[in-house]
């Protein structure tokens, strides 16, 4: 294996799971695989341009760009793909198994509700929320990945957190409440 490939596998590929998680939240079901593959290939081609140490933020930025490009192309063709068989597969969950089936069931119900609520947020809100809470990135990294100023990151984060909380209350208590 040549040197560039070895360095790429050491520095960038460890973030493949993060790239995939991120693409799953950005894209329609069934599109994440292609977007991630496209992004990794572009990352490899442009790898010499990577300076500094933040390979993760860099890879996620490319994932987002690939997603935007793909979305634009689709809009141009006005092409709406039909859901395919296997689109709705659960994938495998990374968390280690719990020995308690009862609490597992309750948890998986909650997970489904939460997944649905997050999916219903506008894309730019969902993106910052996931980058902060799941990828645990700081404001500067999120600003780099989403290509907006830090102030915008902060206001989007605030709005998405408030919206998620309001939706959650609506779902659990069945009564609409004022959004704080």
């Amino acid at each position: 294996m040549d040197d560039k490939r070895a360095r790429f596998e050491g520095q960038v590929l460890p973030h493949l799971d993060a790239a995939y998680r991120f693409a799953r939240w950005l894209c329609r079901p069934g599109e994440a695989d292609d977007v991630v593959q496209d992004a990794v290939l572009r990352a490899f081609k442009g790898f010499d341009g990577l300076r500094g140490s933040d390979a993760k933020a860099w890879l996620l930025t490319i994932v987002r760009n690939c997603h935007l490009t793909a979305a634009m192309q689709q809009q141009r063709r006005a092409f709406v793909p039909l859901p395919e068989e296997g689109d709705a597969d659960d994938g495998h969950v990374m968390i280690a198994n719990d020995a308690n089936p009862e609490s597992e069931t309750i948890l998986s119900d909650q997970k489904q509700v939460l997944d649905r609520l997050v999916a219903s947020l506008p894309e730019e809100h969902r993106t910052v929320l996931m980058l902060r809470e799941i990828e645990e990135m700081d404001y500067a990294q999120i600003a780099a990945v989403t290509n907006v100023p830090i102030g915008t990151v902060m206001s989007r984060l605030a709005r998405s957190r408030a919206a998620l909380k309001a939706k959650w209350l609506q779902e659990v208590e069945g009564a609409p409440r004022a959004v704080r």
Partner: protein, 264 residues
């Protein structure tokens, strides 16, 4: 109505403010019930998301497909390089020992020297700075490969700790902090700094944290650092050197460090 300080309170919650602003915001929160409630809400949303949302790892088939694409890409690039080399060679031969040959040769010589200097800067310097950090990041990345993470799978510290007795040169602190979001998932033996190292493995949301431990060599603990997007937090306790490695945020990584230090 929303308090004008709410964005600053959020920044405080995300640990994005310096100590002076943090103190100001804490004073404000004492008097503002709205912001107190906001802090509680932020914590609720965070713990719901981190504990409750599904994270999918990249499917194995996708990983394989990507590696294949990279193989092809590597092969194409190599073929292109060969073609360029052959063309250059042919050009040199047709030009012969013409007047321009010397100058282009001279310029390319300068180019080679600059590239060599740049290469020395980018590759030699970092490895001189800290081979240990590179070793730790490599071991962390290796552990994320399938089936390398854990030698002893257990969420019980009374299983993990004794296991190290026969497999490593040190006996590190082992504890489960599931309530605080750091779940003990097992242990592993590794080889760091020429010693058999004990590694305690935690899961924090979607992230794996490896806590490496080995016998302190008497030198001062290295400074915390970041390599390839992974944070490394070092500390010493008694005669054991600890290093926690992960791609979590600093805040989350240092949270585990704090818990481990308090617990010992």
């Amino acid at each position: 109505m929303q308090c004008a300080e709410s964005l600053r309170v959020q920044a405080y919650f995300d640990r994005e403010v310096d100590a002076v602003s943090a103190a100001e915001i804490e004073r404000h929160v004492e008097h503002c019930s709205e912001c107190r409630e906001l802090l509680l809400d932020l914590e609720k949303v965070r713990s719901a998301l981190r504990g409750g949302i599904s994270f999918d790892a990249a499917p194995a088939a996708l990983r394989t497909r990507i590696l294949q694409t990279l193989d092809q890409e590597g092969a194409t690039a190599e073929a292109a390089n060969t073609v360029t080399r052959l063309k250059a060679h042919a050009q040199r031969r047709t030009k012969g020992a013409g007047g321009r040959g010397f100058w282009s040769g001279a310029w390319s010589g300068i180019g080679v020297a600059a590239v060599a200097a740049a290469a020395a800067f980018f590759f030699v310097v970092p490895s001189l700075v800290s081979p240990l950090s590179n070793e730790l990041v490599s071991a962390h990345v290796r552990s994320l490969m399938p089936a390398h993470l854990i030698d002893v799978v257990s969420t019980d510290k009374h299983t993990v700790k004794p296991w190290f007795a026969g497999h490593a040169d040190v006996s590190p602190a082992v504890a489960d902090f599931e309530a605080q979001g750091y779940r003990l998932i097992g242990g592993r033996a590794d080889y760091i700094d020429h010693q058999r190292s004990a590694v305690v493995v935690y899961q924090h949301g979607a992230h794996v944290i490896n806590v490496f431990t080995w016998a302190a060599s008497g030198a001062r603990s290295p400074a915390n650092t970041t390599r390839s997007g992974y944070h490394l937090a070092f500390w010493q306790q008694g005669d054991i050197q600890y290093c926690a490695v992960s791609d979590t945020g600093w805040d989350e990584l240092l949270g585990l460090v704090r818990l481990l230090r308090e617990q010992a």
